[in-house]
Assembly symmetry: C2
């Protein structure tokens, strides 16, 4: 075990490049600036998902802009020039803040959450966007909106962002005007219209946790049916493929920030699907990097091709586990 | 108004055929045998959806086979040789029975419902299948399973059905051995793998209410976001198109039994998408028939083609309403 840990650690300074030379960015998911030590320890090439629910909750009913700004700037500076992707408030669903928690929704996962909340509570949304934009003056920041369901929602959010930029400009406050703005792809309707969204977005980030839940209509928190939550369901693989192809056709990069991105069993599949970036808990990076570094894209595409011809989740899951365990004897999963 | 009513009624004995001669079956959704008078008054060409939740609830904890059988046989005989499509227990979600109602699910729409319940509570499921099969000896019956998410679930249900048939055979009880078995397509993963399902199913029935809810991740019962429930969302239209094309490639018919099927505004779209059968409340049949009889498939396909090139729900919705109201001045909207 010790040997394995140190082997993985030795990879730290090597790039996360496939054996045939494609760089796949391995980034970190974080929630608080305190995690930056570990982000650096595992050599993440950036923050792929900065969750802001905790932060916004902390900032209280007044939605303290300074408190948010100081957290963002701390992370941006702490990353020394590596890109930081900040997801705007993803409240609701299983992530509650005070106001939302008081609402009594029958199906919170299909409810008033994330961008739906922000597009109505523009007061909350604008304060967050101000804080993010201000931080963007200090280093490379990207914004992404959660739970986008279609182009109209995305354009509404872009319009508000534009208004906030205008406001900052008139106040003489610095920010990065060309800040990249991305779409989380986690609602099936967004995946199915990703060709349309790709023309307006600067990047995609696939949120597999929600995407899988909606695609298979399964609340993974429901113990009666958790076994139905199947990342390798052929429908899920097909949907991811659609998103990646649409992103690449439009010339934008596509990442993934759900749990699937950090699952060693999924790594070769995701290489084959063409993901450009995977964001995960820092400590998962070395193992994923090792898999990427010992596999070619060609190999991954052939592997994926075999899976895509299979008809059931069970067949796919079984084949993946056998293939991965044979090829990578260090995988314990 | 009276004139309009009588005009629609005069259509009653004419077939529901497009102007260029494609027959699109217009069937009725029912819940109890008492609705048959109205089914005949509006000349439905069969029952496209016989909901059995009420019936099974009535039959109590003991799941009375005789009570279910007598209800099924009454409908089968009452339809005089027209086909009756019985949906097996679609419990859970927003449809509760005692046992399920006691469960406290955080997201019942993404929960332990319909076929998921039946595949575990095979005691309940088998009794219902016995009653349906017995009724199939008296006239054309079709079975369909709700909430199928993929081929494995469908095959599990088929296996149980096979076992029940064997049991009846050994008891010397008559039933239609060749009874057609269909898949409801209402979970996005089923729609996305409908090519695989089509090889095993005898027919599809698209359940738009749930399909739209999952695809856009919106609980239409949640008043904060009901406006997001968009039957003409480009993702929904694309998904229906995938299902219809996959069904036809495999040579099986595909119907629709959600509210969209009885919505006059959607009728030409559904013709263009290639639906073979629409099932709705009986009283909606005349208006839908009138639209079908005054439109050609070619016209509908051109209309659909225009919509499929549009990027947003709002554009599509606006165009559909204008086009439909101009062409069919009798539509009240
Ligand atoms: Mg999410
Ligand atoms: Mg349903």
């Amino acid at each position: 075990y010790l040997k394995r840990e140190s082997e993985l650690f030795n990879l730290s300074n090597l790039p996360s490049e496939t054996r045939d030379g494609k760089l796949i960015h391995l980034k970190a998911n974080i929630e608080v600036a305190e995690e930056l030590d570990s982000v650096h320890a595992y050599n993440a090439s950036g923050i792929g998902l900065f969750r802001t629910e905790f932060l916004v909750m902390q900032s209280g009913q007044e939605m303290d802009e300074e408190l948010q700004y100081s957290a963002y700037i701390k992370v941006v500076k702490g990353m020394n020039g590596l890109p930081v992707t900040i997801r705007t408030l993803d409240v609701g669903g299983d992530k509650l803040i005070n106001e939302i928690a008081q609402r009594d929704e029958k199906n919170p996962l299909l409810g008033w959450r994330a961008i739906r909340f922000c597009l109505e509570r523009t007061d909350v949304f604008r304060i967050q966007l101000r804080a993010i934009l201000r931080a963007s003056a200090a280093g490379p920041v990207r914004i992404m909106f959660p739970m986008i369901s279609g182009i109209e929602e995305f354009e509404k959010a872009l319009k508000i962002l534009k208004g906030v930029k205008r406001e900052l400009r008139s106040e003489g406050i610095a920010f990065a005007d060309e800040i990249p703005v991305g779409c989380m792809i986690e609602v099936p309707s967004a995946a199915l219209t990703s060709d349309i969204l790709a023309r307006r977005a600067d990047f995609f980030s696939i949120g597999t946790n929600d995407l899988i839940q909606y695609t298979i209509a399964v609340d993974r928190g429901n113990e009666k049916i958790t076994s139905m939550y199947e990342p390798f369901h052929p429908a899920v693989l097909r949907l991811i493929k659609i998103v990646v192809d649409n992103a690449h056709d439009a010339g934008i990069p596509v990442g993934m920030c759900g749990e699937m991105a950090g699952d060693p069993m999924a790594a070769v599949i995701l290489m084959g699907l063409g993901l450009d970036e995977l964001s995960m808990s820092s400590f998962s990076i070395p193992e994923i990097k090792r898999i990427i570094r010992s596999t070619t894209i060609l190999e991954a595409e052939e592997f994926l091709g075999t899976l895509m011809d299979m008809k059931s989740f069970k067949d796919i899951d079984h084949y993946v586990r056998e293939w991965m365990e044979e090829k990578f004897e260090f995988i314990t999963g």
